[in-house]
């Protein structure tokens, strides 16, 4: 009797947990049921953090790719091919990302994957996709090593032919921030903090290097533990270091409280970060004292691009619950790049998908070129976006406001 009650309860708990998990990923395949009347179905995989701290950015990515797929279906953009998305949640964790990659590879209808958000997750997925010749386009990975190899500073070698990205790399983003902070904000003493992750540490390093070259002084460095929200010890160190600016390599769930606690400790200095903190949630978490904090983000401000305006309007019309956030435009373009590549492959093969569709799509991706939400979309020999724009945003009265944009034309 007792034994049975135990089993019953364990089963109930397990069922409960499973139900909840299912609930969490309830719209994993959102949009897949948007009617496919005959013809071939091509699945675009999406991998992003759909739950947890970074879900604001991740859900924006998922919805934007969904919008690209629906737009292609509605316009019948590729004759006889319907697009669906299959979205998987990586929780921002490399191990989960890798499992998702395996899962996407196993689904034969998947001809391209958009994602992930985190560079560390990207690192763990690249090989899985490359082995399967499945093309991956990341809208948000900014670590230079992903396309140019770990020794990118000295010798650039592309590690994986199937990996592309629409985002600009930290090799440009960090220095751009350094230039702005040193020359425009006239800050000379920086305290550099990072979260030790691939993205954060990489960004902090490129910033630090350029800041020193410009003649700036690094008065302190610190690596925080992203699992905690208590940065008071670090904040006190920052205050006593005499820094006039803080650079943080990392993401908004930590950057927000960090900014707040640094100001509370009595250091009224701006916190500067990369695209990982360019989110409305940063402002929410940093609170009122976050005014004046800066972030660089990839791309030109949305209001400057007519194509982006159209995207914003369509996104709104589609009725997604979550905002498209920092990477919406890049995600749409990543999804659309896959659609363009599929179109090319199908048209070259008399309107049908060839047997080695994955390899063909990967090949076609190299030469894709179209006017996307974020400007002209095409890829260089490393798989990096050729359009490299960056914008500095500042927190003003509780909102991000663009203060300066730059284009890399090297």
């Amino acid at each position: 009797m007792r034994q049975r009650s135990l089993i019953a309860i364990t089963a109930a708990l397990a069922a409960g947990a499973l139900t909840l998990t299912a609930c969490g990923s309830r719209d994993d395949d959102g949009g897949s049921d948007s009617g496919n009347g005959g013809g071939t179905t091509v699945v675009i995989g999406v991998d992003a953090p759909l739950t947890g701290d970074l879900s604001a950015l991740g859900l924006g990515i998922k919805n934007s790719v969904d919008l690209a797929a629906k737009t292609a279906n509605k316009d019948n953009y590729v004759d006889g091919v319907k697009f669906e998305i299959q979205a998987l949640d990586d929780q921002g964790q490399p191990s989960v990302g890798q499992q998702n990659a395996t899962k996407l590879v196993a689904n034969e209808d998947v001809l391209g994957v958009v994602g992930p958000l985190n560079s560390s997750v990207g690192e763990s997925m690249q090989k899985v996709f490359d082995t399967a010749k499945l093309v991956e386009v990341s809208p948000a990975n900014t670590n230079p090593a992903l396309t140019q190899g770990v020794d990118w500073q000295t010798k650039q070698v592309r590690p994986y032919k199937s990996y592309f990205r629409t985002a600009t790399t930290d090799a440009i983003q960090g220095p751009f921030a350094a230039q702005y902070v040193f020359n425009d904000s006239k800050k000379k003493k920086v305290f550099v903090i990072d979260d030790k992750k691939t993205y954060g540490a990489g960004l902090a390093a490129t910033f630090t290097e350029e800041f020193k070259k410009l003649g700036g002084q690094v008065v302190g460095t610190e690596h925080i533990n992203p699992d905690t929200k208590d940065f008071n010890a670090v904040a006190t160190k920052v205050k006593n270091s005499g820094a006039d600016v803080v650079y943080y390599g990392g993401e908004y769930p930590q950057a927000g409280p960090l900014s707040k606690q640094i100001k509370a400790a009595g250091a009224k200095i701006p916190v500067v970060g990369g695209d990982g903190i360019y989110s409305a949630d940063f402002i929410k978490l940093a609170g009122a004292t976050g005014n004046g904090d800066l972030a660089t983000s990839v791309g030109a401000p949305v209001e400057e691009l007519p194509s982006a305006k159209e995207f914003v309007a369509n996104y709104k019309a589609a009725g997604y619950k979550e905002a498209y956030e920092a990477y919406g435009g890049y995600s749409y373009d990543s999804g659309w790049a896959i659609i363009e590549a599929v179109k090319k492959v199908v048209e070259d093969n008399d309107g049908k998908l060839p047997d080695d569709a994955r390899a063909k799509v990967t090949e076609a991706m190299q030469n894709v070129s179209f006017d996307g939400v974020t400007g002209k979309v095409s890829f260089d020999e490393f798989g990096d976006a050729t359009n490299k724009q960056l914008t500095v945003y500042a927190v003003e009265n509780g909102a991000w406001k663009s203060v300066k944009s730059g284009t890399y034309t090297g």
Partner: protein, 200 residues
């Protein structure tokens, strides 16, 4: 001070097994199972509802937008060509180089100012700003940088850029053009010549 309320490291004979043996078998299992089942079923129903509402997303038409002229920063590209002899030769520690300004789309663009952000350098250009460019045209501009104060000039910038103020019928904008590594190399060479090779 022995304010503790509990034993430390109790042995395996800890008593609760006996205490709670009384908590009675039977009786509870059935209702508790129904309760759990009900919870699961309710959760399942909620799940279905959510899934249904998710699939009812609007899928409305994309409206073609009337295109106003593009922002000048989006219409213009600026590319580094090479170091070039400046209008006054290489006198006075100046570093001259040529850039190509292309107006890709939209109405003509006026370059109202060319600057660079470092405090120790001054900028001159030929043609001198402000000047206007034609639509869909390329024009070559010679930019000359002069060191005004070596202390404030960067020694070895990795990503130096030019701040160019552009105006067209849409807007006036200051945009940074990061001219790439060749420019960075040649600029730092020139700066080292101008300010000596003291390392910093």
């Amino acid at each position: 001070m022995t304010g503790g309320i509990g034993p430390v490291e109790p042995g395996e004979d800890t008593y609760l097994r006996n205490v709670t043996g009384r908590a009675g078998p039977g009786g509870r299992t059935a209702p508790s199972r129904t309760r759990h089942r009900r919870t699961v079923r309710a959760a399942g129903a909620a799940l279905l509802l959510l899934a249904a509402s998710g699939s009812l997303r609007a899928d409305r038409a994309r409206e073609p937008a009337e295109a106003p002229p593009p922002y000048p920063s989006q219409a213009v590209t600026l590319a580094y060509l090479d170091a070039a002899p400046g209008p006054g030769g290489a006198r006075g520690g100046g570093f001259s180089f040529a850039v190509r300004l292309s107006v890709r789309s939209g109405p003509p663009v006026t370059v109202t100012r060319i600057a660079q952000p470092s405090a120790g350098l001054s900028v001159a250009s030929s043609p001198a700003a402000p000047f206007q460019t034609k639509p869909h045209s390329d024009s070559k501009i010679i930019v000359t940088l002069r060191v005004t104060e070596c202390d404030k000039a960067p020694r070895n910038p990795g990503f130096p850029f030019l701040d160019v103020t552009l105006r067209n019928t849409r807007a006036i904008q200051t945009h940074s053009f990061i001219l790439g590594s060749r420019y960075a190399r040649q600029l730092s060479q020139a700066l080292q010549v101008a300010c000596g090779n003291d390392s910093r």
